[in-house]
């Protein structure tokens, strides 16, 4: 086998795999989002067959329509679900940044021999199951849960607070689950930073706070962008957290998609919901990829 053939094979194996199992499925979602619901297996129309022949194909193509998308605009449920997903993801991202930044900053300023241990402690929860970590909060946030028991024991409250099955529980769940994604890029950006820059700024007359805002913060911006995107993007499409911690009125698009698919068995609408979700996420994903590519380039240079 020649060098060119080997090279071709090397590229072709992962390339074809990703084409078949990642890219083609997206086109299927896209196509089925224009189909009609049908009580059959598979539950949509038209079903394209390789044996159909060109004329039948053209006929079936004519059956595709924008009906599902019209349906999404007619029922305010969907619009509200998108809006509420974005709101919940945004608030959670902001909260995660507020908690993650001091944590990452503290870690980056820790004595050097402590840092690997601290980093491992941040990564460790990430290795444990997502589902388990969300489950852990149910026992804490319930009406008779540990948080209420603790607060009542302290005497802060007389009546148990209702936290579970509200948006607040969803915020807590998302921040908790995605905090490592926020902390790690922030830590990487802060740890890399040259300590003497701060000293130079102070030497030139900045107070410590001013030095932070004028030097540390701008230099950690790539880490902030990466961390926020890593929290925001999956949070928008989150299903498990709103399902287990949120209330029946907690609208999130991932959950809507799940319900359309598994409960209503309306695959075409579920596909339309997925297509729109992807369109919404294109902007943050592109921003994220752009920053990632820039850091990658800076590293390899």
């Amino acid at each position: 086998m020649g060098a060119a053939a080997r090279r071709w094979l090397l590229i072709a194996i992962p390339y074809l795999w990703l084409l078949i199992f990642f890219l083609v499925p997206f086109f299927l979602v896209f196509k089925i989002s224009f189909s009609q619901t049908n009580i059959a297996i598979p539950p949509y129309l038209p079903v394209f067959e390789w044996t159909d022949g060109f004329a039948v194909w053209m006929e079936k193509l004519r059956q595709l329509s924008l009906d599902n998308y019209l349906w999404l605009t007619e029922d305010p449920l969907y619009f509200n679900a998108y809006l509420s997903s974005l709101k919940i993801a945004f608030v959670s991202t902001a909260l995660a940044l507020a908690i993650g930044y001091p944590l990452a900053y503290g870690m980056a300023r820790a004595p050097a021999h402590w840092r690997p241990l601290l980093v491992m402690l941040v990564i460790l929860p990430f290795w444990t199951s997502f589902l388990i970590r969300v489950y852990a909060w149910i026992g804490i946030l319930r009406r008779e849960g540990l948080l209420n028991q603790f607060l009542q024991w302290l005497g802060v409250i007389d009546q148990p607070l209702t936290i579970i099955n509200t948006d607040i529980a969803v915020y807590i769940g998302i921040v908790y689950s995605y905090l490592p994604f926020m902390v790690l890029p922030l830590y990487a950006a802060l740890e890399r930073m040259d300590e003497s820059l701060i000293e130079a700024a102070q030497d030139l007359g900045c107070t410590r706070l001013a030095a932070f805002w004028k030097i540390t913060f701008p230099l950690s911006l790539p880490g902030i962008v990466a961390g926020c995107m890593l929290v925001f993007i999956p949070a928008v499409g989150e299903f498990v957290i709103p399902d287990l911690l949120g209330g029946s009125d907690t609208l999130m698009i991932g959950r809507t998609l799940w319900v359309e698919f598994f409960s209503n068995r309306d695959w075409p609408v579920a596909s339309a919901v997925a297509t729109l979700l992807l369109l919404i996420l294109v902007v943050p994903i592109v921003i994220f990829q752009y920053y990632q590519a820039r850091t990658r380039e800076a590293e390899t240079r």
């Binding site: 060098a3 090279r7 590229i11 194996i13 992962p14 390339y15 990703l18 199992f21 990642f22 890219l23 499925p25 997206f26 299927l28 979602v29 908690i99 001091p102 944590l103 503290g106 300023r109 004595p111 050097a112 601290l118 941040v122 990564i123 460790l124 929860p125 290795w127 444990t128 199951s129 997502f130 589902l131 388990i132 970590r133 489950y135 852990a136 909060w137 026992g139 804490i140 319930r142 008779e144 540990l146 905090l179 490592p180 995107m229 993007i233 999956p234 499409g237 299903f239 498990v240 287990l244 991932g254 998609l257 695959w267 579920a270 979700l277 992807l278 996420l281 994903i285 990829q289 590293e299």
Partner: protein, 272 residues
């Protein structure tokens, strides 16, 4: 550096880690609770671990999950390593941009979309949903994580090592296998572990792509949790946490020990 480890920094680190670890600790503690009520402490007991071991549905699900994780992690490591080699080594070919997009996009793709799209693919391919389709799905999304991990190691790999092997008579393939692979092995192993735990944890994609008789452990836990919180679930979760934590700690200790030994040897060499 110590002087910057101020009170504020210590507090934020302690508060951050308390937030990360208290829920998990409580979960573990209450798995040893005698009472059926998860949140009322009624004395120490291991009865829920016994219940867990008698729950055949749970054990079946665990066996399914283990098989899926082993197969998909191994396949994902092979494919992901290939993808990383292509990303780092083959700098110019038609469709490279699309390729790197396909490698990086699944990292941030909402699981519901990945799951739905794969299901539609399996339907279009007339593939019955079984344990096999779950393996395919898990392989696809975890190979991208493996590719990222291996890629970051491969970028810093000194190409001249491979050239030296060729210079001494190895074909390019043999040079990769005898020199490059052993040197980047820690990253490949880390990638395998990541793929394994990703598969172990996944609920959403498995729910879309699995069929009857292929219920994974997260799917089983999820359906039990929906019915109500029981200490038995705490016990299952504790076992899982213990397994994964032990594996991660062992891996990092081995890694650290070899690094320390290496550093010591380098110091000796400099002195001698």
């Amino acid at each position: 550096m110590n002087r910057h480890w101020s009170g504020f920094n210590i507090v934020s680190v302690v508060v951050g880690f308390a937030f990360l670890y208290i829920p998990i600790l409580l979960l573990i503690i209450y798995s040893f609770n005698e009472s059926r009520l998860v949140t009322v402490w009624a004395g120490f007991s291991t009865r829920w671990y016994g219940e867990m071991l008698r729950n055949q549905a749970l054990l079946d699900a665990a066996w399914v999950t283990l098989r899926v994780a082993l197969v998909s992690a191994t396949a994902a490591t092979l494919l992901g390593t290939l993808a990383a080699v292509v990303l780092v080594r083959v700098t110019r070919f038609r469709g490279r941009l699309l390729f790197s997009g396909m490698v990086f996009a699944p990292l941030v793709m909402p699981e519901v979309i990945t799951g739905l799209s794969l299901l539609l693919l399996f339907i279009a391919m007339n593939l019955d949903r079984t344990i096999f389709t779950v393996m395919l799905a898990h392989t696809t999304f975890s190979m991208c994580f493996v590719a990222v991990v291996v890629q970051s190691r491969l970028v810093t790999f000194d190409r001249s090592l491979e050239e030296a092997a060729q210079d001494l008579g190895c074909t390019p393939l043999k040079a990769f296998l005898t020199v490059t692979l052993p040197v980047i092995a820690p990253a490949v192993i880390a990638g395998w572990m990541l793929a394994f735990t990703l598969s172990l944890d996944d609920l959403v994609i498995a729910s879309f792509t699995s069929g009857s008789g292929a219920t994974t452990l997260p799917m089983r836990i999820y359906s039990q949790v929906r019915l109500g919180v029981t200490p038995e679930i705490n016990a299952v979760c504790t076992v899982l946490i213990a397994l994964v934590t032990t594996a991660v700690i062992i891996a990092s200790v081995i890694n650290k020990r070899s690094m320390v030994q290496r550093e010591r040897a380098e110091q000796l060499a400099r002195a001698g």
